[in-house]
């Protein structure tokens, strides 16, 4: 009998399960919000602005330069001239971007370009493809206009972006060729709002100009403040407190401040 009781107690102990989730870093939620901001802002830079600058170099080049630019910067895309001062990037038969130049090169004073994003970026879910933003990227239009020496203003067409806004100032060092844009130094200032599906608004302000250096990812220096707000789509009320996040880039990492706690997150090393 004693044996049985011991066996039963042993089995009971085996069957009692206990699991404690790792508490991880205290600013984890703040880092998630920052990462989301970073992903979308990088997306705008890498998938929209950089190709536009490369297209600018392509438009201004002769045939041999055009071939070099195509081979080096967008081997899988092709530029087609759609109409006077209208060019488009194609990935196979799919149109990616359409650019309306006003007859000026981007480096020229008076350049004011309109960029339409033609393909919607989505992610797979049980409900099918869900857009990353409530404002479909296909409804986005960006204005890029030269405002000074090696300086451009980038803004979203607010009539079509449905809540997302952008007012950026992009600067390149003097004498740098803009075609190497993604691999060289540049800086970004300004503010904006990303609107996400589910009526979440992420408002951000670049407190200290963000500096990009070479292949350093994502930013080498700079500070950005973010405020996330949820607006109930049915009642149009704000049912939860806003979330405040501050991100400071330190060169090899990032200091995230969330709920009055600041922690450093190191970047993964890039090879």
């Amino acid at each position: 009998m004693k044996k049985y009781i011991i066996i039963i107690i042993a089995i009971a102990l085996v069957c009692v399960g206990c699991y404690r989730e790792q508490r991880s870093k205290l600013t984890q939620r703040g880092k998630e919000i920052h990462d989301s901001w970073l992903m979308y802002s990088q997306e705008m830079i890498e998938k929209t602005i950089v190709p536009v600058f490369q297209m600018d170099a392509w438009i201004g080049g002769n045939d041999s330069i055009r071939r070099i630019i195509e081979d080096n910067y967008f081997p899988y895309l092709r530029v087609r001239e759609e109409a006077t001062n209208e060019f488009a990037f194609y990935d196979g038969a799919q149109k990616i971007l359409t650019v309306n130049t006003n007859g000026y090169a981007l480096a020229d004073n008076g350049a004011s370009w309109l960029v339409s994003i033609n393909n919607a970026r989505t992610y797979e879910s049980d409900y099918g493809q869900i857009p990353m933003f409530l404002a479909y990227p296909s409804q986005w239009r960006l204005f890029i206009s030269k405002t000074g020496n090696q300086q451009w203003n980038i803004s979203l067409d607010t009539t079509r972006s449905m809540g997302s806004k952008c007012d950026w100032k992009l600067s390149l060092p003097a004498n740098d060729t803009i075609v190497y844009f993604s691999q060289q130094e540049f800086s970004l200032a300004g503010n904006g709002t990303f609107k996400y599906a589910g009526d979440v608004y992420l408002r951000y302000h670049i407190d200290e100009t963000l500096q990009h250096q070479g292949k350093q990812y994502p930013w080498n220096r700079g500070v950005v403040s973010m405020i996330a707000r949820f607006i109930d789509p049915e009642t149009n009320e704000i049912p939860t407190d806003d979330i405040h996040v501050k991100a400071e880039y330190t060169g090899d990492g990032i200091k995230i401040t969330y709920r009055n706690i600041t922690e450093t997150w190191e970047f993964e090393k890039r090879h």
Partner: protein
């Protein structure tokens, strides 16, 4: 000598088993199926609890009574209980933000077929089928509720073995609310005749 004089007719047993099936049925493991539309939108989740979890569960505890109608056929009932506990703690302050208790109770009429009836060893198979309820108690800083979900409880015992005479130990392999593997002890007895 007939089996009525040789073998006891009443049987009470207490057992414990793994809680895997109740965990699966109530979504404690492998989730609750398709998530809500908003749960899939990562940005909306920023406004949920910023917390981490502590989870625990009891084994499937059961008590049953069976009466031997014939040498090989038993009829009775089983009551089983499993509890899953989940506490959430704020990631920054470490204060408990919510707790949830899932009490899963099954009451099932049972049959048993004992296909080997020796003095000290009995081998059997069995089936229990009845009612199960999942009583969910939730408490957080802003809300408190208790709700119940009803369903079917079952236990299919592929093979079970009793070892002992009046007091015995047992082990069963099967599938159901009492676990894939169950063990315990029990008591056989006859009612006193006047």
């Amino acid at each position: 000598m007939s089996w009525k004089q040789q073998l006891q007719r009443h049987d009470i047993q207490i057992g414990i088993g793994d809680p895997l099936l109740p965990a699966f049925v109530t979504g404690q493991i492998f989730g609750h199926g398709r998530p809500d539309y908003y749960e899939q939108l990562p940005a909306v989740n920023w406004f949920g609890d910023d917390s981490y979890k502590w989870r625990a569960c009891t084994p499937a505890i059961s008590i049953s009574y069976k009466y031997r109608l014939t040498k090989w056929f038993w009829l009775g009932a089983t009551l089983s209980y499993t509890c899953f506990l989940e506490n959430r703690y704020d990631r920054v302050t470490n204060v408990k933000t919510s707790s949830e208790r899932d009490h899963i109770i099954s009451i099932m009429p049972s049959v048993r077929f004992s296909w080997l009836n020796k003095k000290y060893v009995t081998l059997y198979s069995g089936l229990s089928l009845g009612y199960a309820v999942d009583i969910i108690q939730y408490k957080s800083q802003t809300e408190k509720y208790s709700t119940a979900e009803h369903g079917v409880g079952f236990q299919l015992t592929a093979v079970g073995v009793h070892v002992g005479r009046k007091w015995y130990g047992f082990t069963e392999i099967g599938i159901g609310m009492q676990g894939f593997i169950q063990a315990g002890f029990g008591c056989n007895f006859n009612s006193k005749k006047k």
